[in-house]
Subunit: 482 residues, 2 copies
C-alpha cells in the first residue's frame, strides 16, 4: 500500500514561490491532473490530466508519422533470458524490473519481466523480420505503458508505471542510424518548444548517463523554474550492440551478411511534470494553449434577475467560439464567480471570459489572460477575431518567458569553486568545460551535486580548460536535476 | 517460449472455403496484421494491423466522448486484496491472472495482479472520489492493455495480452445505470454496423454467461462466415455489488447515504479478428473502407519505355486523391503488377486502380473493387468523383452481404433434436425459446455444443415453449461460438 495514497487533499494551495515541491504535488492533485494510486509509486491520471496527455500525444504522434514512422504494439511481458542477452542492458535495468512468476495457479518456468523498455522484445522480433537490405530501414514506434520499480517517486516525474512512446529503428549503415537519432532529437526539440512552450538544450550525454546498452545517447534538457534541470526526452544510437546480442542480420546489396544499426528514442508522461513546473505560478497551473484541455472558459456574472439575459449571451458566445477553440461555459449555480475564477486559474485555463449585465449594456465582454492576469474589455463583435490572437500571444509569451528565465539562470563558470559559490545564491545551468574524464565528472557531482546535463553541439569557441583538472575540454552544461 | 512463434510463414494462402481456421492465421500473418510473439499466447500487432486498430479506435473514441465520457488512466497492477473484495469477481478472474511477486531484487509482501479487467482498481479510486450526489454521474473510459492467462489462444480472438477500452460509470439510481448500460450497448451496435460493416444481434446474456460480479450483462454478437458466433462487445450493469464491496457511497439530495449504481462496458482488439473472419475470402482480407489503413492503391503497368509517362500519371492521381481518401501508389520496381495485385488483395485494400500506357491513350484508369472484383473503366476526369462513391458502395455492400448471410443462416428450431439435425448440414444461429432454467441451458450445450448468445429485446410474439422442457420461455439465440 502506498502511504501517500492516504494523504488528504490540501485545502489551500501552497505558494510555488515558497515551497515548490509541496506546491507541485498540491497543484497536480487540486487541479485533478492526477491522484496517488494505492499501489506503491503509481498514480491515476485523471480525466483533466489525461486530456492534456491526449493533446500532447496527438500532436507528437502526427510528427512521428510525418517523419516516416509507423505505430505497432509489442507484448508487455519479456522473458528474462531475452533481457539477459545484452549484458549492459540487463545490468542497467534488472534492479528496476517487476517480475511475473505465476500465471493463473501455476508457477512459471521462466520469470517474465514487465517491460522497463522494449529493446529486448523488439530486437527479438526484428531478428525474425529482417532478412535483406530491402527490409530496411525499419521505422516503428510504440505507445505503451512501462514499469520501473522505483524507490523514490513523484507524480508524473518519476512513477513506477508511466506512459510513453518508444521509437525503434533499424538501418543498413551507421551513418543512416546517426541521421535518424539526430532527426528525432531535433523533432523532440521542435515539439517541446512549439507545443509545450518549453525551451530545451540539446546535446550528447556523457558516458555515465548513457542508456544501458547504447553506443551514445542524446537528450533534450529543460530548465525548471526552481533552477533544476529536467531530462525531457532521449534519443539513443544503439550501434550494433543489440544487433549482435539478438542476431539481427541482413543480406546487403553486396551479398554480404551484416548486422543492422539501431536507434531508440522516447518521451513520456514526465513531460507533463515539466509543463507544470516550468509555467505554473502561485495561483496554480498555466497551461500552454496548444495542448490545454480547455483553452477558454466563460463565466457568467449573474443573479436571479439577470440570469436569463446573461445566460443567453454566455451560451451564444460559447456556441460561436466552439468552432475556433476548446471552450467551456461554467454555468454551475452552486458556486460564485470568485470561486470559479480561482478554480479555473488553479486549472491553468489560458483565457477566462466574464460576462455580466453591465458588460451586456456596454456590448462588451471581459477577457482575462491566465499568464499575465491582464484584463481586456473587448467589444462582443470582436471576440472571435481576438481569441485566436490572444491564445497565440500566450503560447509565444510563455515560451519567451522561459527562454528569458534560462538565459538569466545560465552561469559561465571556470571551476568547481566558482560553481559552488554561485550555488549558494542561485540554482541554474552552469556553462563550463570538461575534459571527458569520468573522474572529473564524478568530482563535480560529489562536490556540487550537479551532473552533466548535456554536451552541446555548437562548435565555435567550444573548447576550454576542464573545470576540475584544467586540461583541454569540451563545453558542457551542468545542473542539479530531477 | 511460444511454440507457434517458430511456425514458418506459409508460402501460399490456404483457401478460406477449404479450411477457415488455417486460412485465418495464414491471412493475418501473410497480410502482416500480426505475428506470433515469443511469449505464450501473446502476439505482436504489426504496423498494418495497428493502423487498422488506430482507425477503429479513433472512431470509437469519438463516439465514447460524444456520449459524455472522458478518458483517464488507472494503474496496471492491482493488489490481490482488492481483487478479493468482490467474491464472485475474484472467483471468475483468479484462474486467469498473471501475478507479480518480485519488484527489483525484493519479494513483495502482497502479490500484485496484472489487470485482467480494472473494476477493482477503479472502484477503489471511486470510493475516494465520490462523496455527494454532485459528484455523480462519473463517466470515465480507459484505453488499456489487459492480461488474461489463457490456455488456448488465437491471434486477435483470444490472446494472453490484448488491447481494449473499458468504460466505468457510477450513478445515483438503478434507472440511470440501466439507461447507461443500454446507451453503450446500442452505441456498440451502431459502431459495429456503421464502421466495421458488421451486423450484430443485441440482447441480454443468460446467468451463466454473465460478467463475474455483475447484476446482468448485455452483448453484441456477430455471426462469422463459418456459422460460428463471436461475442464482439459487452455492457454490464454491475448493480451495487462493487459499490458494497468497495464502499462507494454518496450523500444524496435527501441527506441519506447511499451506494452508487455502476456499469462497465468494453470492446477489444478481438473486433479485428471479427472483421477478418466476417469479410475475408479465398484471396485474403477484405477491409471495410471506413477503417482500412489504405483505401485505394494505385498500381502502374509499365515497362522501361513507358515508365516516365505512366509514373507521372500515377503520381499525379495519387496526389489528387490524397485529399479524398487514404491512398498509396505502389511504385516498387522489384515486383511485377500481377504480384502486386495479389498482395493488395491479400491485404484487403478496398479499391485498386491500374494505369498503363493504353489507359493513358484512352484517357482512362481501371478501377477494381476488392470485394466483388468488379472492373470499371473510368475516364480520368471522373476518378475523383467516383472514388468516394465506390468506397461508400463497398462499405454498404459488405454490410448487406453480411446481413443476408445472417438471415440465410438463422434457423428457427423448436427442439434440441431439430437443432442437431440442422447442425449436421449447417452452422448458424438457432432462433428458439428457453425457459430460463440453467439445467435446460446446460442440456442444450452438452448435446449441441451451442450456447445462448443472447436473449433479444424484441417483445412481439417472443415467448414460446422451451426447446428442452417445453415450459413457457423467452426467445433466445443459440450458436456455437468463438
Amino acid at each position: 500500500m502506498n502511504d501517500e495514497f492516504k494523504e488528504p487533499m490540501p485545502e489551500k494551495l501552497t505558494k510555488k514561490s515558497e515551497n515548490m515541491p509541496r506546491w507541485y504535488t498540491d497543484v497536480i492533485r487540486m487541479a485533478k491532473l492526477a491522484d496517488y494510486a494505492p499501489v506503491k509509486g503509481c498514480m491515476v491520471i485523471m480525466p483533466y490530466g489525461f486530456s492534456l496527455w491526449e493533446n500532447l500525444k496527438e500532436n507528437l504522434d502526427r510528427k512521428i508519422k510525418e517523419t516516416g514512422h509507423k505505430n505497432a504494439y509489442f507484448p508487455l511481458l519479456i522473458p528474462e533470458s531475452f533481457l539477459r542477452k545484452e549484458a549492459e542492458h540487463v545490468e542497467g535495468f534488472a534492479p528496476e524490473v517487476a517480475w511475473v512468476t505465476q500465471g493463473g495457479h501455476d508457477q512459471l518456468e521462466e520469470r517474465l519481466a514487465i517491460r522497463p523498455t522494449s529493446e529486448a522484445m523488439i530486437c527479438h522480433m526484428y531478428s525474425k523480420w529482417i532478412r535483406s537490405w530491402r527490409d530496411l530501414p525499419v521505422l516503428i514506434n510504440q505507445w505503451a505503458n512501462i514499469l520501473r520499480w522505483e524507490m523514490v517517486t513523484r507524480l508524473f516525474l518519476r512513477t513506477t508505471e508511466f506512459l510513453w512512446q518508444e521509437g525503434h529503428t533499424a538501418h543498413a549503415t551507421y551513418e543512416e542510424s546517426e541521421e535518424e537519432v539526430l532527426r528525432m532529437l531535433f523533432m523532440y526539440r521542435d515539439f517541446a518548444e512549439e507545443y509545450l512552450a518549453m525551451p530545451v538544450m540539446v546535446g550528447r550525454k556523457s558516458e555515465s548517463e548513457r542508456f544501458a546498452g547504447a553506443l551514445h545517447t542524446y537528450a533534450i534538457e529543460a530548465l525548471m523554474s526552481d533552477g533544476k534541470a529536467l531530462q525531457a526526452g532521449t534519443s539513443h544510437n544503439l550501434g550494433q550492440h543489440f544487433a549482435k546480442a539478438f542476431d539481427i542480420k541482413f543480406l546487403d546489396k553486396d551479398e554480404k551478411e551484416k548486422y543492422v544499426w539501431q536507434t531508440s528514442w522516447g518521451v513520456s508522461t514526465r513531460l507533463i511534470g515539466g509543463i507544470v513546473m516550468m509555467h505554473g505560478d502561485d495561483a496554480g497551473l498555466i497551461l500552454p494553449p496548444t495542448i490545454a484541455p480547455v483553452q477558454v472558459v466563460i463565466v457568467p456574472i449573474w443573479d436571479d434577475r439577470t440570469k436569463d439575459r446573461v445566460g443567453t449571451a454566455v451560451n451564444e458566445l460559447c456556441e460561436s467560439l466552439t468552432k475556433l477553440c476548446r471552450v467551456e461555459a461554467d454555468l454551475r449555480d452552486e458556486y460564485r464567480p470568485g470561486w470559479k475564477f480561482n478554480e479555473h486559474e488553479l486549472r491553468g485555463v489560458p483565457v477566462r471570459i466574464e460576462i455580466g449585465p453591465k458588460d451586456l449594456d456596454k456590448g462588451q465582454v471581459v477577457l482575462v489572460r491566465r499568464d499575465t492576469k491582464e484584463k481586456m474589455f473587448v467589444p462582443r463583435g470582436e471576440v472571435e477575431d481576438k481569441i485566436s490572437k490572444v491564445l497565440g500571444d500566450i503560447q509565444r509569451d510563455l515560451y519567451e518567458r522561459a527562454v528569458d528565465f534560462r538565459i538569466k539562470h545560465t552561469y559561465k563558470v571556470k571551476s568547481v569553486e566558482e560553481m559552488n559559490e554561485m550555488l549558494e545564491r542561485e540554482r541554474g545551468i552552469f556553462d563550463s568545460h570538461w575534459c571527458e574524464d569520468a573522474a572529473c565528472e564524478a568530482k563535480v557531482k560529489q562536490e556540487t551535486k550537479t551532473t552533466i546535463r548535456c554536451i552541446p553541439f555548437d562548435d565555435e569557441q567550444s573548447s576550454g580548460p576542464c573545470l576540475v583538472c584544467k586540461k583541454p575540454g569540451v563545453r558542457a552544461y551542468f545542473a542539479r536535476a530531477y
